[in-house]
Symmetry: C2
Subunit: 277 residues, 2 copies
């Protein structure tokens, strides 16, 4: 298979995952049951839900709003809907997403599921275990479903990664006219997560997909965190929602304007009345 | 092939595209040269660059900044870099992206390439022509490479589509616990564009990829615009960059505060001085 061909295969055969389950063993067994033999250069895209469940990240649902607050580093924007408020927040994993990634689907009534504490660590553990079991050089992406600014619908995105380049750095590459490429860094880990979602779906009982044909991205090192795809902090041009920033700017401007205006009004009155007095 | 398997194959064999070229004929010939026989349910992901070139969207580069202005509906945010200013704008295609999608790579010195005027119309024309040539029910995605809020790197995104559902609406679906799914609409056209990019790359001379295995998304109607994936307008929570919104709010707040403060200051002075006079 050449680098210009990709094969993505989702597979089921995993039981409902419980806290403490050995995901390396369960995914390995499911691969064998599906007659898929991992090869060097394969990437496994693993839905974060099953990682969360194995890591015991299910909590009582009475705490949903509290759970969102606990997972939140910073509120980016809020939007009221009939019956509640959606909070777009930056969470502990560096992701900007609705409800901090706290999920109430795919979990029993009365519970919610939090994201893995450290999805990159989860990916490293899975990659190390699966590499050892199958004696191949493979990579792992842990995926979650995220909304986007300016786009309808959600896409799957890499929230954890190990054993693959998460950014394909094209700087220094040239187009057919000899120009350096303007588009410089393809977020290939995110693209792999999206490719996996096309076959895994959401309700299909297939939480893992194997991607073959992206071997040029797979590397020996497991220290290839998806965290480096997060762009937050002062350089984030959208660190605060428009309404929130307008309100914050307005409040600050109003206070300054009021102080300046008061002084000007007072002086003007004194000048006018002083003339009269 | 089941719905849980996807095969993505990029192919080259197209000449450097010039204005007026018949893309249906050239892509069809390239498919045949690569011994790929299109089947019902296939999706072709076509890089917007070659569509732009065929549609004569190459203009003199002396006009680059002017071209960006002409393509801009609305400035969302700006960021200075050494030697210039990046403008994040909403363009005529409803996309929020840097430089309005005006590209100076993959085009000869002294020229820039604009996006297709109506990428959905381009996709419809390609899909109609290729369906007629191969007598199969296929879909077409026209892709471009976009940056994202809160994420490093770029991913390929659907800017045009015809003959496939661009959103896979999962509302009404249930998870294995019987709950309605919280994640309701997968932006599958965007995910297809990303899957295509993993094999097309940027400088590989392979501007088209065929995706097989997503036939559940392919529909008879060609009227399935990617435009409906654009989320702009008043409900866009990030319709203005944070710095821009802070500044706009500040200016409005300052003006209001100054007026209120002036009146209060004037009244206070009058009260105080009136007592004296």
């Amino acid at each position: 298979m050449t680098g210009a061909e990709l094969w993505v295969k989702a597979f089921g055969g995993l039981p409902e995952i419980e806290e403490g389950d050995d995901l390396v063993a369960l995914i390995g067994d499911a691969l064998e049951a599906a007659s898929i033999v991992p090869s060097d250069g394969d990437v496994l895209v693993v839905t974060s839900k099953i990682v969360s469940k194995a890591e015991g990240r299910r909590i009582a649902a009475a705490d949903r709003e509290e759970a969102i607050t606990a997972e939140t580093v910073r509120v980016v924007a809020t939007r009221a809907y009939p019956g509640g408020v959606t909070r777009i927040v930056e969470n502990r994993q560096g992701l900007v997403q609705a409800a901090a990634g706290v999920d109430s689907s795919n979990t029993p009534d009365g519970t919610v599921l939090l994201l893995p504490v450290d999805p990159d660590a989860s990916a490293r553990s899975l990659a190390a275990g699966l590499r050892a079991r199958f004696r191949v050089l493979l990579g792992v992406v842990v995926s979650d479903t995220l909304g986007r600014a300016w786009r309808q619908g959600q896409i799957d995105t890499a929230i954890g990664a190990a054993g693959l380049r998460v950014l394909d750095d094209l700087r220094g590459s040239h187009d057919s006219f000899g120009h350096e490429l303007a588009v410089t860094q393809a977020a290939v880990a995110d693209e792999l997560a999206s490719a996996g979602d096309l076959v895994k779906g959401k309700a299909s009982g297939m939480p893992v997909a194997l991607v073959r044909g992206a071997g040029h991205l797979v590397v020996e090192s497991l220290d290839t965190p998806a965290r480096m795809l997060a762009r937050t902090g002062p350089t984030d041009m959208f660190r605060l929602g428009t309404d929130e920033a307008l309100a914050e700017g307005h409040a600050a401007g109003y206070a300054e304007g009021q102080a300046d205006g008061y002084a000007a009004g007072f002086a003007a009155a004194r000048a006018a009345l002083g003339d009269l007095s």
